[in-house]
């Protein structure tokens, strides 16, 4: 059963408001919900990341603030809120100030098309996947803004790396998703989830999932593809001049992007909210966190890749592989149609 109707909208209808108020309230409820989801997730994810890395490195990780260090991230966030917001004199002021906001907005907008559970979707666009990719690609511009405006050579190097990396890895990312889209015949995220009721697409498209995972890792700038930050070489790259809450916004959107890209992976390849017994949203959260843990595992295992190897991997390996995957998928679909007429 696909979609199942929009839960929030249905619930609001029972109150008998005029339609315009209904849609306004729906929008507000979803925005608040998504923001709460992002903030709670990010606060907890930072803690989780530190605990996971600690576990892998035979350390304890945060364990002082709150029980088992659970409030560590809260304390960190409060500290960042209380710090002075320094704008260095040599920066391009307006671009510098706008960049952290410009990176955070798309990070929030992405959640509009994620089906969190049965009927739990803010905007069920018929171009859902395309919307996701288009909005997420604007992150590059924000990072470039930050790196350029900081007027710092390390920031500039980082910004240039960001552009080279994120623009090129977008291509295999899109192509890997195409395989799934071809199977479903729709760009609507709810349709994609509905199509996976019997078999998850990771089993039909294992290669596409692999390409998606690698490219997504590069898109969200996480290790081994964290060249943009490149702490050991360019210190913090585009974020080097930022302080306080503006720095936190970059940090926040990085983790928000990690969650959204994992959510997209769950939607496309792991059957979305589909699953027996448990409520649909819980299935979604479980799968989401499995994806996130996978990302963390990779990050804390591998060293950072070099910039020329990074681009070589993309253009000479991932891109041809994703093209072959599309070809094989297309041929497969045609053969399937030929073998079983009437079902299509």
């Amino acid at each position: 059963m696909a979609g199942g109707g929009n839960v929030v909208a249905t619930w609001l209808n029972t109150w008998g408001f005029p339609p315009w108020l209904n849609s306004l309230l729906t929008g507000i409820i979803y925005l608040v919900g998504v923001l709460a989801f992002i903030f709670l997730n990010v606060i907890y994810l930072i803690y989780l990341e530190r605990k996971v890395s600690a576990y892998m490195q035979q350390r304890l990780g945060p364990n002082r603030v709150g029980p088992r260090g659970l409030l560590q991230s809260v304390a960190d966030a409060l500290k960042l809120l209380g710090k002075e917001d320094i704008v260095p004199r040599h920066v391009d002021k307006w671009v510098f100030l706008v960049a952290p906001i410009a990176i955070f907005i798309p990070a929030v907008l992405l959640y509009a098309v994620i089906p969190f559970g049965r009927g739990l979707i803010a905007a069920d666009l018929n171009i859902g996947v395309l919307y996701f990719l288009a909005v997420s690609s604007t992150t590059t511009i924000a990072i470039l803004m930050g790196g350029w405006a900081a007027n710092n050579k390390y920031a500039l190097l980082g910004a240039m790396r960001a552009v080279a990396q994120m623009v090129s890895y977008e291509i295999p990312l899109v192509f890997s998703i195409l395989g799934v889209v071809m199977l479903v015949g729709s760009l609507k995220t709810t349709d994609i989830v509905a199509a996976q009721e019997d078999v998850w697409f990771i089993f039909w498209q294992p290669v596409a999932f692999l390409i998606f995972f690698i490219a997504a890792n590069a898109e969200v700038n996480r290790g081994p593809f964290d060249l943009v930050e490149g702490e050991q070489e360019i210190i913090a790259g585009p974020y080097v001049e930022y302080t306080a809450m503006r720095y936190a916004l970059f940090f926040l959107s990085e983790y928000a992007n990690l969650v959204s890209v994992s959510a997209l992976a769950v939607t496309l390849f792991l059957g979305g909210w589909q699953g027996p017994w448990l409520p649909s949203w819980l299935w979604f959260i479980i799968k989401l966190y499995i994806m996130i843990l996978l990302f963390m595992w990779v990050r804390w295992t591998f060293p950072r890749i070099r910039i020329d190897h990074l681009l070589k991997l993309n253009w000479k390996f991932l891109l041809p592989l994703s093209l072959v995957n599309i070809l094989v998928t297309g041929v497969g679909i045609k053969v399937y149609q030929w073998l079983s007429p009437g079902r299509w």
């Binding site: 890395s53 892998m56 490195q57 035979q58 350390r59 050579k153 390390y154 190097l157 240039m160 790396r161 290790g223 081994p224 964290d226 490149g230 702490e231 050991q232 070489e233 360019i234 210190i235 804390w300 295992t301 591998f302 060293p303 950072r304 890749i305 070099r306 910039i307 020329d308 190897h309």
Partner: protein, 370 residues
Amino acid sequence: MKASAQLATEEIILNMGPQHPSTHGVYRAVLTLDGETVVGVQNVLGYLHRGLEKLAEDRTYTQFIPYTDRLDYLAAMLNNLGYVQAVEKLMDIQVPERAEYLRVIMAELSRIASHYVMVASMALDLSGWTAWFPPFRDREKILDLFEMACGSRLTLSYMRIGGVAADIPPEFVPALQRFLQELPRGLEEINGLATGNEIFQARCRGVGKIDLETALAYGLTGPNLRACGLPFDLRKVRPYGIYDRFEFEVPTLDNGDAYDRFVIRLLEIEQSAKIIAQALRDLPEGPVLAKVPRVIKPPEGEVYHQIEGAKGILGFYVVSDGSPKPYRLHIHSPSFVNLGAFPVMAAGGTVQDAVATLASIDIVLGEVDR
């Protein structure tokens, strides 16, 4: 269209350091960059200069021992050893057997500890965060051993002119044996996390390459030279102390790149462990300090003594005018010499390669600037 075809690009100068996560201290490299490619490197030193050589002229011979800890602070025992052996050579002091064996054990432990730091920090400089921990965890055990022997963990000052400061406590030997037993497991972990990792290999192979001729011309010594294929190790070539009694190999590798410089450290750790095991087996009973005069007054004259430090040849040149203080003391430090070859190694690579190369040379700024 025409304008973009003639778009001019300029080289930029990037100031890497003195405060930078990958310069391993207060060292500054002025990089000339063409995009991400390093065109030229200029070494800028002296941020940690403390004038140790001048200070030595106003300290007695014994008082200078703690200063040597501050040279290569990751291998303090080796600096102690080099200095006291130089003075002993000048005064012709016979060191008791037990002290000689203890010195070898401590020196090799120091070498292992220093190599562990190199292995860990090089992995970290390539962003292999997790690979940092196994070597540092094992180094911690060595520091515990040092603490047992001399009460301090980093600045040890364990050696004395004529022997060592104190005998080892009874719990030292079992702890050392346990450490030697656990050592191969730790090395295996490092091999799994760093050496055998595809990305790590891609980052290191062929990076910061230097051939044997150039290496010799720049005076490279120690593991960096042995990674170029020359089996030159003072412990074998010109044995000092009692090193001629031990059986060990001098591992060499051929490529002279960052990867070989990394791997050779792991191989040398194994050899050092072999030496320690032999020294532990043969450790005789007896005094640990020779009968030396209360005030050390070497006869007039000069001496140059060099040992195989963790980073290369560590030399002490001592001139005595017969007074209780050295007339002149000069330290030939391997890190300083090895750093001289950094511009040649780093040129032509990317910024990331330069970081990997610097880590693979393994410099300690306390020794570079003295």
